[in-house]
């Protein structure tokens, strides 16, 4: 295989279209005659809808129909997580949603829908309708640990104490181990906050009838899963739905859930297949799509005088919101990571995923690891300090060692990734000099520098199915189209797949064309993109399929040149005789001849599925340097460097972009983002982009994202996960840097002025005369 394109900063294939504005996203493709759907959301945090009087709202000119929860005659409960389906019922996601419900479990739950000729009519009707709902209000609970108490409001009858799931791990014997003399106990509570994905394209979809089926065009990461779930939600055969995915304006895991496709399809069917569109307003995206779980952690370590761990315990309470979505998988991922990142013989760990009357938490970039990394890396810092050790040296000494093998996942740490990443990052940010320089500071303005790492893996094997399918079709001129189940959502999946195909077949990249718009009628089956799996999983099916096609190309070349296949190769789109390097014919000549020959005409195509039975660690680190203005309770991020080992970097420009984006999301998570609810009413307080502070252009220093490359031996092209890892280490690095600057190590996110004011006041760093 040539390596002409792999490893090169190839311009993304959709860049021209995106730079000229001609890229079509879901809403751009919808006919403007579409009827507009607006969802009637619950305005109580927990209750029963007794009645919805639609008579006034129906009178608004332009209103076509109003559906309420009482119109849902057949109750087909459905799951929403973008997980591969399991034919084993015990591994299936919890089916707890209805298209519309009369038993709202959070402020923003879906209890009705207006269908109108235009947005203004829909909005007017919705305002009237909101005042026409009679609820029986019930007590609600917003905190996970409160929800577990006896007597707390129960959300789902099958789940006593609101516990969706509780799992434990036990290794060795903690009780015995802590009897060892001379141990130091380090204990901490770490609190992470709910945040939202904030992709700039809100979720939008539309549906219409075609023949006896329904077509759904939607902004999703998971078209094939959407088709299955819409079938489940309507009680119809899955093949009755065709799901089309145009370009997507960001997903970050929110669009790894089935959102409003079932409701939109259901409404279209109820209206005889009329074209209906649901474009979710930003305010509703915040509360009625998905959010990232708030997780509370309690970690205890017993350490020997040399800093090694004698025993450790880990407990986590994961606030899942009102419905299961991804269920326990997110909390479980952190629990799974805990004994691996800093191995220890004696570990007790347990985690609870708990229903509360808040917005539904689902997948969001990092899948539980931004939270768990925060807890684990705050705690690692606390452990190092308790033992008087340098935090970076502590990590080098006690992190997962090279050769570590994880029996369940079969993951192995093949390279000295952690140290290589630390070395590179430390040099770029000048870590060691700055640590010295920032010792013993006084005054109002202080600086600090610190590091954090994280645990991550690639893909979902062996927890769930990993499968990837690819089809490559050759044209008359020898160029090809390819289709994949892995979706392009902005990360650059199409481009890296094209690079792989060009190198594997041996043809110019300009002759490789992605079919970016997916369509479940024609795209080979695939589960979409999530779990940082895309480049890794698609690599297997791309390679297998490209080699199948190459085999057919060489067979045809044999037919036309009489040369034996083993003396032939394809180089730069030309059939070459390898024995003397002579160019025999171009791919274009071959393809044309093969299609139009009167002796064995054939259309050159290949299609195959690869089921992946491996996974790969994907590690890295973040160094952060901050300046803290103590009286102002403000943190200025001065420098930040992320270093990642994602194996072979297929496209450095796209990979760097992934790291930048993840870092940015991590900065917001660390310093400013927090979705809030009113404790008295359960109403969301800041579900808009003004009051919810995602990081803007002004909040960043220069972002430096870079790599060490250790070829991943399990991978088709040496690559492994990168989509999510960059987000994971940022918040703990910033927290640790603030600690280095001020001496205060704060175990709560975000580290906004509000949090710092409280902490600085309590610690006596600032005068508390303003506190009253």
């Amino acid at each position: 295989m040539s390596k002409k394109y792999i490893g090169q900063a190839v311009t993304r294939l959709d860049a021209y279209d995106k730079a000229t504005g001609r890229t079509k996203y879901t809403d751009d493709m919808c006919d403007k005659g579409a009827l507009v759907i607006r969802v009637l959301h619950s305005q109580v945090a927990n209750g029963i809808v007794k009645k919805i009087d639609t008579s006034e709202a129906c009178k608004v000119p332009g209103v076509v129909r109003i559906f309420t929860c009482f119109d849902v005659e057949e109750k087909h409960y459905f799951p929403t997580a973008g997980h591969p389906w399991s034919t084993d019922p015990s591994h299936q996601d919890i089916a707890d949603r209805l298209v519309l419900t009369d038993r709202p479990l959070f402020y923003g739950d879906d209890i009705g829908a207006v269908v109108a000729e235009d947005e203004v009519a829909a909005a007017q009707a919705l305002r009237i309708l909101e005042k026409s709902v009679e609820y029986e209000e019930l007590p609600f609970v917003l905190d996970a640990q409160e929800a577990m108490k006896d007597g707390a409001p129960l959300l789902h009858e099958k789940y006593p104490n609101n516990v969706l799931a509780h799992t434990e791990i036990h290794m060795g014997n903690v009780e015995e181990a802590i009897k060892e003399p001379g141990l130091t106990k380090v204990e901490g509570w770490y609190e992470t906050q709910p945040v939202q994905h904030c992709h700039i394209e809100n979720f939008v979809c539309y549906a219409y009838g075609e023949g006896d089926r329904t077509v759904i065009v939607t902004s999703t990461q998971i078209p094939h899963i959407v088709r299955r779930v819409v079938g489940q939600a309507t009680g119809m055969d899955w093949g009755k739905f065709r799901v089309i995915k145009p370009y997507v304006g960001g997903g970050f895991g929110n669009k790894q859930d089935v959102l409003y496709e079932p409701l939109t399809a259901w409404i279209s069917i109820k209206l005889g297949g009329r074209l209906v569109k649901l474009d979710v307003p930003r305010e509703e995206t915040f509360i009625s799509n998905r959010i990232r779980h708030a997780i509370r952690y309690h970690i205890v370590s017993w350490m020997r005088p040399d800093g090694s761990f004698a025993a450790r315990t880990f407990r986590a309470w994961c606030n899942n919101g009102a419905y299961s979505s991804h269920g326990h998988a997110i909390a479980a991922k952190g629990l799974n990571a805990f004994p691996q990142l800093y191995p220890c013989d004696n570990i007790d760990g347990e985690t609870w995923t708990v229903y509360t009357n808040r917005s539904v938490a689902g997948a969001m970039r990092g899948y539980g690891m931004p939270q768990a990394s925060y807890a684990m890396e705050c705690h690692a810092e606390d452990c190092a300090r308790a033992m008087g050790m340098d935090p970076l040296e502590f990590r080098r000494k006690y992190l997962m060692p090279v050769g570590f093998f994880h029996a369940f996942s079969k993951n192995e740490l093949y390279s000295d990734t952690f140290n290589q990443c630390f070395d590179k990052g430390a040099e770029i940010i000048d870590y060691y000099n700055k640590v010295k320089k920032y010792k013993n500071q006084t005054g109002d303005i202080r600086r600090g520098i610190a590091v954090s790492t994280f645990w991550y893996n690639t893909a979902v094997y062996p927890i769930a199915l990993e499968t990837s399918s690819c089809r490559i079709v050759m044209n008359q001129d020898g160029s090809v189209q390819f289709q994949l189940g892995e979706t392009e959502i902005g990360q650059g999946a199409d481009t890296v797949a094209a690079q792989m195909i060009a190198d594997t077949i041996g043809m110019p990249l300009s002759m490789v064309h992605p079919v970016s718009c997916q369509d479940t009628d024609v795209t080979p089956f695939g589960t979409g993109v999530y779990a940082s799996r895309g480049t890794y999983t698609l690599g297997f099916s791309v390679r297998q399929t490209a080699l199948l096609l190459k085999e057919k190309i060489l067979e045809a070349a044999h037919q036309f040149t009489r040369m034996p296949v083993y003396n032939l190769d394809v180089v730069d789109g030309v059939i070459v005789r390898t024995t003397d390097g002579r160019e025999l014919m171009t791919l274009g000549e071959l393809a044309l001849e093969k299609l139009y020959t009167t002796d064995g005409s054939q259309h050159l195509t290949a299609e195959s599925t690869y089921q992946i039975k491996s996974n790969a660690y994907s590690f890295g680190c973040c160094f952060a340097e901050v300046e803290v203005d103590i009286p102002m309770c403000r943190v200025r991020l001065l420098n930040i460097v992320n270093v990642h080992d994602c194996g072979q970097v297929i496209n450095p420009m796209l990979a760097e972009g992934q790291v930048h984006g993840g870092m940015s999301m991590g900065i917001g998570y660390a310093l400013s983002e927090k979705l809030m609810w009113d404790e008295k009413t359960g109403r969301p307080l800041n579900n808009n982009l003004l009051d919810y502070k995602m990081s803007s252009f002004m909040d960043h220093p220069r972002l430096i994202g870079t790599f060490v490359e250790n070829y991943e031996p399990t991978s088709a092209y040496g690559t492994k996960g990168l989509g999510e890892p960059p987000t994971c280490p940022v918040a703990p690095a910033i927290r640790n840097a603030i600690g280095e600057a001020t001496g205060l190590y704060i175990n709560e996110l975000p580290l906004s002025p509000h949090t710092l004011f409280r902490e600085f006041t309590e610690a006596g760093l600032i005068n508390d005369s303003f506190a009253e």
Binding site: T11, R12, D14, A15, Y16, A19, T20, G21, R22, T23, K24, D27, D28, V60, P61, V120, Q124, C198, H199, I200, E201, N202, Y247, V248, G249, G250, F252, P281, R282, K437, G443, I445, R447, G490, Q491, G492, E627, L638, N639, L654, E656, G657, H660, G661, M663, S664, M665, N688, L689, L690, M694, S696, F697, M698, H700, P701, R702, L703, I704, G705
Partner: protein, 183 residues
Amino acid sequence: MAKQYKVVHCRINGKEVEQVVDVRASLTDMLRNDFRLTSVKKGCEVGECGACTVIINDEGFNSCIYLAVWAEGKDIWTLEGLTSPEGELSDIQQAFIDEGAIQCGFCSPGFIMTSWEILRSGREYTDDELRKALSGHLCRCTGYENIFRAVKKTMLRRLGKFEEAEKVNSQGITDYPEPMPFK
């Protein structure tokens, strides 16, 4: 509530047009629905995210909070107007491509229009000024880093500072100025 309509006359991407609009419609609605200029994106529809930015009489506006009827007599440019009729890109569009400033692409049209407005001034902005001038746009994919690089490079090139422009590199860590001096 009877609908009210009005005829609006304006110039869009250099072409004189007239259009009947609902008086309640936003300029975003008019450009997207009536002219199919779908580069004008809807991200929040209340002026928070900047995705719908267009240039009106040489100044950038969030078209989602600009009524269509206010467009009367105005000169409006959208991203579609930056590409030449033969498909040739403007320098700033090309820079967005070359610097990897585009990922999902949803915020890109707005960003490019504001960049275009900034660059038209012919001024040399400091890094802080550039960041501030671009801060009306939100992006969740890029961390703004490569967008900054694309705009700064184009600015320097337009000012004839080609060598300086080439130094604005992704991993050229050494040429990055120290943050403000440590007190």
